[in-house]
Symmetry: C2
Subunit: 325 residues, 2 copies
């Protein structure tokens, strides 16, 4: 039986992944043993064999988790971009140093096992490893020049995951998620929150604020795609990566205007009328430094797939969260 | 008076830099106060106001050095590529974790100073941040995909230096040195040692072994250029970097056959006859993963310069080390 650990299992993507594993399993294992780890869990969250609570920033936690000897570790936990920018120490402690300790603890288990224990690690990285100015499309050999601490921490962890894997201590890879959209639930404090908000709130009959011009172009994938990326990465033959173990994931590049038209297609003019335009220069300043489009050829060649259009992303939200369509 | 700290001041480049500063000063300061720090120093080494001995891998050392409040820190210390590959713990401790503690200690001094202390940090990085396969020339936006622990550690430190600088704690930049050639003194255990050996030993009337085919192409700069890169970086207006604070330095791309012809130009056939060809598959395997050529447009635009030919590199060695020409 495959032992799976989801670090950050209480978050939105972690919960969706756990729900998927509970019904679909992973690869040929229809009933893996799943452990979720996070600082807390939603009250009526996804089911799993074990729920462990703790803060990965505490150094002893890495050893505790590695001692479970999971076959597959999904590492989804992070201090989000905005908080890592305002709380420098907390961001580096969780997004970099805790990852180092996790890798070191997994390596210790590898060595104690006489080399037989080589866990698959799927690290959830981000397109924030890239920094403006960008080419029209970011290809698979464009350099990592992040413009946030969060992006630097993700780029650093990618390099660590690759080197620990090259040495054979783990068998890891890093997948750079697009902005996950449409996020269910409430708005959060991330600067990217509005990308989901302008779709989610109108679909729920609520007003939404659009803080940037509708010409802003960005890179999106649905929660369903995010789960698909993670499970595909967990089962991938990593020899095919030829040592280049960080991959930009596929997604949908579209403007906010195109997002709004997709909403109109699915839910009509009344929904669109709930979007209020109210420019926020602070959010615009952050968003203007973000990637707009990718040419993720390697990920596509390796079988990672995302939606073909933003309308498909909107329809998935309606189907998965509102139980309609 | 400018206070300068050279971490790794006992090494070959550190000693050349110290000798240069003692005679030429730095920028408009003709007599800076120079402190050298290393685990040890050559018996008849370069003069400097202060020689401090210690191991940067000890965490307390970073605070000790930062407390000196140097205006300029040259960070040249590293576990070399080969040793970082065989001693995983030592490489990460010195090449990554010690850099983190140095940055954190400089940041503490910055904060204790009420923000007035913002040291210039010049970090000596390496072309090892890149990994094969390469394009014909590596340009300034090619991605960092190292294939050694040393390369990963250098790439990670670059990211840290950039982020600490973006936040205003330090004012740093990373310069990626070509293979420094011709190194004076004895052969060392680096896989790249022969690039210097096949020139240096014949010029000193000694036989030298060439362990790779003479079709091997590589990227070189002289010790004099290395010192020039460092001093130019120390005085550079970093606003011109526009936040992209890691730069590949200029150099000379040539094959081993071209190196040998340059030796013939300078020292004749008798010198060339001292080179013995003896293939070493282990060295060839390492060297085949190394960069061969660069298009370092940004560094050139910012005023960094190197030699125009390998013959010039050979002549410099004769001039600087043998007192001839």
């Amino acid at each position: 039986m495959t032992k799976i650990l989801i670090i950050g299992g209480g978050g939105m993507v972690g919960q969706k992944l756990a729900a998927h594993l509970a019904t679909q399993g992973l690869g040929s294992d229809v009933a893996p043993e799943v452990t979720l780890y996070d600082i807390g869990f939603p009250p009526s969250g996804a089911s799993a064999e074990h729920h462990l609570t703790g803060n990965l920033a505490d150094q002893a936690e890495a050893a505790r988790l590695a001692a479970l000897r999971p076959d597959v570790v999904f590492h989804l936990a992070a201090i989000v971009s905005g908080e890592a920018e305002t709380n420098f120490d907390k961001g580096w402690a969780t997004n970099m140093m805790a990852c180092w300790h996790l890798l070191e603890s997994l390596r210790e288990e590898h060595e104690e096992s006489g080399g037989s224990y080589v866990p698959r690690l799927v690290f959830s990285s981000s397109i924030a490893v890239f920094g403006a100015p960008f080419p029209a499309q970011i290809d698979d050999t464009f350099f990592q020049a992040p413009r946030t601490s969060y992006g630097a921490q993700k780029a650093i962890t990618e390099l660590m995951v690759t080197d620990f894997s090259r040495k054979g201590f783990i068998d890891g890879l890093s997948i750079r998620l697009p902005t996950v959209c449409v996020r269910p639930g409430k708005a959060n404090l991330a600067a990217s929150s509005f990308f989901s908000g302008i779709i989610r709130e109108p679909l729920n009959g609520q007003p939404a604020i659009l803080p940037v011009p509708d010409t802003v172009r960005h890179w999106h994938a649905s929660p369903r795609s995010a789960v698909g990326f993670l499970t595909h990465a967990a089962a991938l033959d990593t020899a095919r990566l030829e040592g280049r173990r960080a991959l930009s994931m596929p997604g949908v590049s579209c403007t906010v205007a195109e997002q709004i038209e997709a909403l109109r297609d699915v839910a009509g003019n009344d929904a669109v009328a709930l979007i209020q335009r109210k420019d926020d220069p602070a959010i615009m300043a952050i968003v203007s430094g973000w990637p707009r489009d990718f040419a993720p050829e390697r990920a596509r060649m390796l079988g990672f797939t995302a939606e073909a259009s933003f309308a498909e992303i909107v329809r998935q939200y309606v189907e998965d969260e509102l139980g309609q369509l």
